[in-house]
């Protein structure tokens, strides 16, 4: 299958609320970067997290296998360090093969969930 997408993506809006309502993990407040790797090669992905008041942190590493999607929760990033909650961040994604990246937040701070999503910016 032909690859689709780009090798660099960015989102500028990042924020993981510390509070949640409803059953975990489905309704835990979270932000996701969803990847589609439609190519026949595994994608080696590195993510750099930017903050408002300190140096960027990374790289975080992730493999998205060939012909697979991966919905990566920013909440789950651990190495080199977790992303703090209730903190503004941004993310730069670099991949060795073209992928598609889409950003989503499920926000359950209040009793009823809210959602946002956008295709990330292809650089």
């Amino acid at each position: 299958m032909t690859a689709i997408g780009k090798t660099r993506w960015a989102i500028a809006e990042g924020y993981i609320p510390s509070e949640s309502t409803g059953p975990a993990p489905a309704l835990t407040s979270h932000e996701t970067m969803c990847f589609l790797n439609a190519s026949d090669q595994d994608a080696q992905i590195t993510i750099t997290i930017f903050y408002e008041d300190r140096d960027p942190v990374g790289p975080y590493r992730l493999t998205v296998p060939a012909r697979r999607t991966s919905h990566m929760r920013f909440n789950d990033l651990k190495d080199p360090e977790p992303i703090p909650r209730d903190t503004n961040y941004a993310a730069l994604v670099e991949s060795d093969v073209p992928v598609v990246a889409q950003h989503t937040r499920l926000d359950s701070r209040q009793a009823e969930l809210a959602l946002l999503s956008t295709i990330a910016f292809p650089g």
Copy 2:
């Protein structure tokens, strides 16, 4: 009328919640790919669904007639197989004439609905 759009589109975020609140089918939790075929030719569209842990499934086939829109619910795809609920997926769309593709989720797992939408990624 002149065609507008592209012949390949992708979304990386796909997830159909199994639970819903409110009258069906309008408020059933669903994800949609909305197509606009502004051209004077019918569009023959094929959709491939990607998963996190198994091979892609498809093609699903759909015709969007000339000068028509079609709001296709991923919930309704049946052949070759339905998309399981509560499961992460992604979608690649290929068309023989240029179309515009926009992705939407209506999520009514909780009492009050949430919405997301984005123009898909044109490949």
Copy 3:
């Protein structure tokens, strides 16, 4: 000021819920095409509405003055005919000067509002 944008835009998702909760007109369920005309010339805009099961309707005509924004509610279109509620549609926008077009729905069918928005597809 230099113009920014494109002269053709499309959205594929269109749907105006017939039901609303909360004070009108702010919280009436509605869909909007928001225009930015940053140029020094008035923009003459035509809109064509596409349906699933009948021929497109239009042109609807709108002027966005130079150096102005206009947030046009699809609910308010009247000539040549209103857009029916609870009906899937799509929209093609053509302008004689470059503008930016962004699509939004405020959905208040249930007690708590939901929102979606995306930059339209530039053709």
Copy 4:
């Protein structure tokens, strides 16, 4: 680190609700332009606000330091003048180095918040 993004961005949808529910400032109704400056140079940014019925206002000035994100609330703009609440606006952003711009609204007019977000239009 290599810069990513563009030097001009626009959003056409702008609206800051005057009413809010929930603890301030996190759940105050607000609109944000989130910036990512992944480059090694500080970004000098100017913002022009467009209205439906009067001349544009600006420039508003903002610095996004090298290798930082900044989530700027439109609510907080003061110089040359605040953006009035419950008023349609649009925004044009110009930067001297490439940045990524993403637009978000958190709307808490009703008891449960709603969210929208989209990558802005790169000009």
